[in-house]
Amino acid sequence: MSFYSPVRTNAQEAAKSDSLPLFRFVEDPEQTKIDTYEAHGGYQAWRKTLTEMTPEQVVGEVKNAGLRGRGGAGFPAGVKWGFVPKGSTKPKYLICNADESEPGTCKDRVLLERDPHAVIEGMAIASYAIDCHLMFIYIRGEFGYAADVMRAAMAEAYKKGQLGKNIHGGGYDLDMIVHTGGGAYVCGEETAQTNSIEGRRGNARMKPPFPAVAGLYGCPTIVNNVETLASVPHIINRGGDWYKTLGTEKSTGSKIFSLSGHVRQPGNYELLLGHNLKDLIYSPKYGGGIIGDKKLKGVIPGGSSTPFLKPDQIDVSLDYESLASAGTMLGSGAVIVFHEETCIVWIITKLIRFYRHESCGKCTPCREGTAWLELLINRIEQGGGKPGDIEKIESICDNIMGRTVCPLGDAAVMPIKSAIAQWRDEWQYHIDHGKCLVETKCELAPGN
């Protein structure tokens, strides 16, 4: 027995809209079937790619669309594809990164479970663009149901001739492997993911060489997020020029935001980039405001590794540039909201425990630093903080930031630095009084 996620979405809004393509059909239980998907216009972009476009044209279209990576880093997808060395005789590989594991983030799972063919189609087009004939989707191991759905969809796609040999008679061969993970956040990092597919421990690799040059099995490899790839068919169907009209000038298109925490209506909402954060939290269409009508205390706007925003900072546009100006990041688009009855130190204990647990152990600053930070932060939270501990935490953060093999180190310390900067008084109170300034009240609902 497996379960379809009951998560709330704005599919109805998307169905009525011309500009929210990702969620259009995610409430249609038949959408996972290839016939339904095709009836909804699916695989037309793939056919068009194979029959009408050169790989260069595909890359050009995606570059023109301005599509940026939806996994967190926001790097332009078309540009990344262009990094595959021209004329390389080695096999090339595409990996769809479905190792969704950053706390707060649960957007890809909706696409995997409810619109798997959209992911496959995007992967296929991207493969064609980089001359890849074997593509992988790396789904986190716990997403058993999503993997089952994806395998079934893949089987259908083979059966219907969307994958396999000589697809649509165009002479292009493409195979696909569904690879499931084993519970390791770091495998969402592209070099660690590559190691994991190779059967190794999921340690990050040094860059350079970048995966586009030497990735999986030492061959050119492109790793793209699920949502990024799912956006590609729409760009091919309707053109980069159309896609560019969505969102803001530099943050084009739509994006799924996972809204969680102390909101009335948590869920996944597809919004145009540039949507107002406050609206997402408070609009009855989306978050519907804070539970219990409590006061908002803070927001993590882009997944657990992004710096916090305070209530006076949330009247901000959800796009890469605006959030950067606000001192934080769009990240994976995971908006975590917490109200006034939440201790900031308590929140940070949750986050640092996660990063300590997920550190791969390869490089010294991350391996040792996250463990030390966890000890210090727990000590403060439990009332045993010592004078100087805050400064010590800041110093450790500085010695991790920018010093590690992969971005996990940065991810671990950014929210900590931000939490201290934004709520230093609360940290100091904890040390001075051995207890919370605001006591956390986060209880399990009784239900009925």
Partner: protein, 855 residues
């Protein structure tokens, strides 16, 4: 220390260069050079923990930070290539702070038990903490401790192998050991487990860390996480002195350092004395722990002479007088030369040369040899086998090759250094390795193709490579000449079938030989020990000629012992090559008239009473000659036997006079490695009992015979230098040689092929006296395949009877994947079982049967 990585060893002239600024000075290096190596090349030392010159780059410790102008963050110099125009600072404030933070992180959970840590005084972390003035006082929590296990001893140490001790709490997770074990040694008995701050190095589940290179791990470990029992808690490193020496066992002559305490007159350990051209900084365990042989309490301390059938202790004077008397008596009685000698090729140049002169000049005989365990040797020299053995060979040439072919060599056991070289060539270059062996060997794990042939068909196998090249037109047809007429069978297909190999595999080797630009092709002990060695060598000469390998191939049959090359060059063969013979006759004013006799022939003649007196130095034919009965009969038939050795052995037991021989560690000597390179050992121990070096024994015997050998040591050594300078390379035959198939008779009663040789932790008969090495392996076993074990209903460790037509032994079984179903292997290093009693002198292939011993 000027260490280089492999990334940087070959600097081709045309390589483009980059110029950048390093701490204010302009530095030009080949493009692709890392900042770390560029800095080292101009004498700027950047600290490292995880970086190791012989291993791939991990980039994990973050110790080697440098600051690069316009770069947003510190860079790790081990992995960052220097680029044109870069401005790099290796010691800025930012860099020092970055490194200090790394040390502090590293010290967080490190026990700081330096007072009781064996690495104290030679620990990189200790030195760096000192240099950067960092302690762990900022970390005010309890340190993370790995759970105790049942193998724990003192100080959280866990014994993970016969020698290796692991302390996970001291481990700083630099992963050097893992990289060395997997990459450099191809071993999988050590692993990295768990993750994050609980990441630990540990022995693989259900395994012991006991690979033949395991001792190196204690050297690559920058801290005291991996130490070894032999050294542990015995002495502080600063209380020892080091003496340069070389490995006394294998023919490449690994460079080693012996750590001694002079007051105690004791060697505490051996480590590598990195020589990139020879050992590349790695030692086999046999080399590393072999020094204990010299320290053994079982050493012979006094001469023994036989009185009334019993050996009793005697003085040197008594012993020498007796030797002089008996040798003179025997010669006078027979009225002709009937004295011979066997001087092992593990002895130094001075010993070999002195005995050569003693026998040739003083006794006047050509009865001299250095080979103990080769049967049916030719009496003449200059044949195809000698041609191959005389060819130039270079160890670094191995990893400059694009094609490497080996024939009949279980490399790990015979040539551990060369095995690691081949691994290196594969790891760091584009080389194709082809291994041809009569059974699967661990050594072939890096081979692109491992070709397993029917035992005893080597020459036909080589023929088949030639034939396929002709048939497929892989070589210029004019080169083929009359080869097809010289060899039989005359088609590749028939030959391949006789050898039971796949023709496609033969084809692959032929193609590689035809296309290779720089080929290394060598044969090993399985060829050397074969009574068909001459035919195999002839086939190889044909192959060399047919493929036109001159100038693009180093081909050789590699010698076995530390001074095998020296023995050949100094004329220790009954019939040395002409150039050597000429030089020696000139030096000694003549040459004995007597017929040259090999060890093998001398033994046959002992039975016929034609050899009556025999001198053995550092050899144990009773244990090692491939026919125990034959050797025993021979030596028992002598009128007089003198044996000089480190220990009492089965051979000394038969002697009329036994002399205590000094070990290599007790005097300075010179040895010639397989490349012809002369290397020195230095005295590390004083002999506190009356053992004497071989050259001194030779001189003393000569004195007894009233013919002093040399004016003094200096004239001796000058003469040796002169003889070594003779070019003894033999020319390749200028025609194809005949190589015909001779069918081998198979006795159905004995269906299994027996191979003997060294265990991977032993060499010859002496290493049984090293405690560490016997901790790895203390007794003989018979290695069989899982399939054969299943067929015979035998489990690992079961006792089995191994029977041949002439003998039987009972040994435990070791099931191994590195053996074929119809082959068994038994090591020869253990005197407890008479392994050579299974072997017949005249067999091409030794055959046995095995059965389970039911108690």
């Amino acid at each position: 220390m000027a260490e280089k990585t492999d990334k940087n060893t070959v600097v081709v002239e045309k390589t483009p260069t980059v110029t950048f600024t390093l701490d204010g000075r302009e530095v030009t290096v080949p493009k692709g050079t890392t900042i770390l190596l560029a800095a080292q090349s101009v004498g700027i030392d950047i600290p490292t923990l995880c970086w190791h010159p012989k291993l791939t780059i991990a980039g994990s410790c973050r110790m080697c930070y440098v600051e690069i102008e316009k770069w947003p963050k510190l860079a790790i110099s081990c992995a960052t290539e220097a680029m044109d125009g870069m401005v790099v600072y290796t010691d800025s404030d930012l860099v020092r702070k970055g490194r200090a933070a790394v040390i502090q992180f590293t010290l967080m959970n490190h026990p700081l038990d330096c007072p009781t840590c064996d690495k104290g005084g030679e620990c990189t972390l200790q030195d760096l903490a000192f240099a950067y003035g960092v302690d762990n006082s900022e970390f005010d929590f309890g340190k993370h401790r790995f759970g105790a296990t049942e193998n724990d001893t003192t100080f959280d140490d866990v014994v993970v192998g016969p020698e290796i001790v692991l302390n996970r709490n001291r481990c700083i997770r630099c992963y050097r050991c893992i990289r060395a074990n997997k990459e450099a040694f191809g071993e999988f008995d050590l692993g990295v487990f768990e993750r994050g701050n609980h990441t630990e190095i540990n022995v693989a589940p259900g395994r012991r860390l006991d690979n033949p290179f395991s001792g190196n791990l204690t050297e690559v470990c920058p801290v005291g996480a991996l130490t070894h029992l032999d050294w542990r808690y015995k002495i502080r490193v600063w209380l020892t002195d080091t003496t340069s020496s070389i490995c006394p066992f294998y023919s490449s002559g690994s460079n080693i350092l012996l750590y001694t305490n002079q007051q105690q007159n004791k060697i505490y350990r051996a480590t590598s004395r990195v020589n990139d051209d020879i050992d590349d900084g790695w030692l086999s365990d046999t080399t590393r722990f072999g020094y204990q042989v010299a320290m053994s309490p079982d050493r012979l301390k006094m001469p023994l002479i036989k009185k009334d059938g019993k050996q009793v202790e005697a003085t040197w004077e008594e012993a020498l007088k007796l030797i002089g008397k008996r040798l003179t008596e025997i010669t006078e009685k027979k009225g002709r030369v009937c004295i011979g000698g066997l001087v092992a090729s593990s002895q130094d140049n001075a010993t070999l040369f002195s005995f050569s002169k003693l026998l040739r000049k003083v006794v006047g005989s050509n009865n001299i040899d250095f080979r103990t365990d080769y049967r049916m040797l030719p009496q003449t020299s200059g044949g195809a086998y000698d041609v191959l053995c005389s060819q130039p060979f270079s160890i670094v040439g191995i990893n400059q090759s694009d094609v490497i072919v080996t024939l009949g060599s279980d490399l790990v056991k015979e040539h551990p250094n060369e095995y690691l070289r081949i691994r290196k060539a594969v790891n760091f270059g584009a080389v194709s390795v082809y291994a041809m062996n009569p059974y699967r060997t661990k050594s072939s794990d890096v081979a692109k193709k491992e070709l397993v042939y029917q035992a005893g068909t080597e020459e036909i196998l080589i023929n088949s490579i030639c034939l396929v090249a002709i048939e497929d037109g892989l070589i210029d047809s004019s080169l083929a000449g009359n080869l097809a007429e010289c060899i039989s069978p005359s088609t590749a297909a028939e030959s391949a079938e006789l050898c039971e190999v796949n023709l496609e595999d033969i084809r692959a080797i032929a193609r590689a030989l035809a296309d290779g630009r720089q080929i290394t092709f060598f044969a090993g002990e399985i060829v050397g020990r074969s009574i068909n060695r001459e035919a195999i060598a002839a086939a190889l000469c044909n192959l060399h000629r047919l493929f036109g390998l001159s100038g693009r191939c180093q081909m050789n049959i590699l010698p076995r012992h530390a001074n095998s090359c020296g023995a050949v060059q100094l004329g220790l063969l009954p019939a040395p090559v002409l150039a050597t013979k000429d030089m020696l006759s000139k030096l000694w004013g003549g040459w004995p008239e007597s017929e040259p006799q090999t060890t093998d022939r001398m033994m046959a003649n002992m039975k016929k009473d034609e050899i009556d007196g025999y001198m053995i130095v550092g050899a144990n034919p009773i244990m090692l000659y491939p026919d125990r009965e034959f050797a025993t009969d021979a030596l028992e038939g002598l009128d007089f036997l003198m044996v000089a050795d480190l220990f009492e052995t089965e051979t000394t037991a038969l002697a009329d006079v036994v002399l205590p021989l000094a070990s290599w560690a007790e005097y300075s000597g010179e040895y010639v490695n397989l490349e012809g390179r002369v290397q020195k050992t230095h005295q590390a121990l004083k002999t506190d009992y009356d053992a004497r070096p071989g050259y001194e024994i030779a001189a003393l015997i000569a004195q007894q015979l009233e013919q002093p050998l040399f004016e003094n040591d200096q004239t001796r050594d000058e003469t040796i230098t002169k003889v070594l300078a003779v070019d003894s390379t033999l020319p390749w035959p200028d025609e194809f040689l005949e190589v015909k198939h001779v069918a081998d008779e198979v006795d159905e009663e004995y269906p299994l092929v027996l191979f003997v040789g060294d265990d991977s932790h032993h060499s010859g008969y002496l290493t049984e006296k090293s405690n560490s090495l016997t901790n790895f392996q203390a007794e003989p076993y018979v290695e069989i395949s899982p399939t054969l074990a299943k067929r015979l209903g035998i489990d690992d460790g079961d006792s089995v009877r191994v029977e041949s037509p002439v003998g039987k032994i009972v040994v435990p079984v070791r099931i191994s994947h590195h053996i074929n179903n119809d082959v068994v292997f038994v090591p020869m290093n253990f005197s407890g079982k008479q392994v050579n009693s299974l072997i017949m002198r005249k067999s091409r292939v030794d055959r046995v049967r095995i059965s389970k011993v039911v108690d």
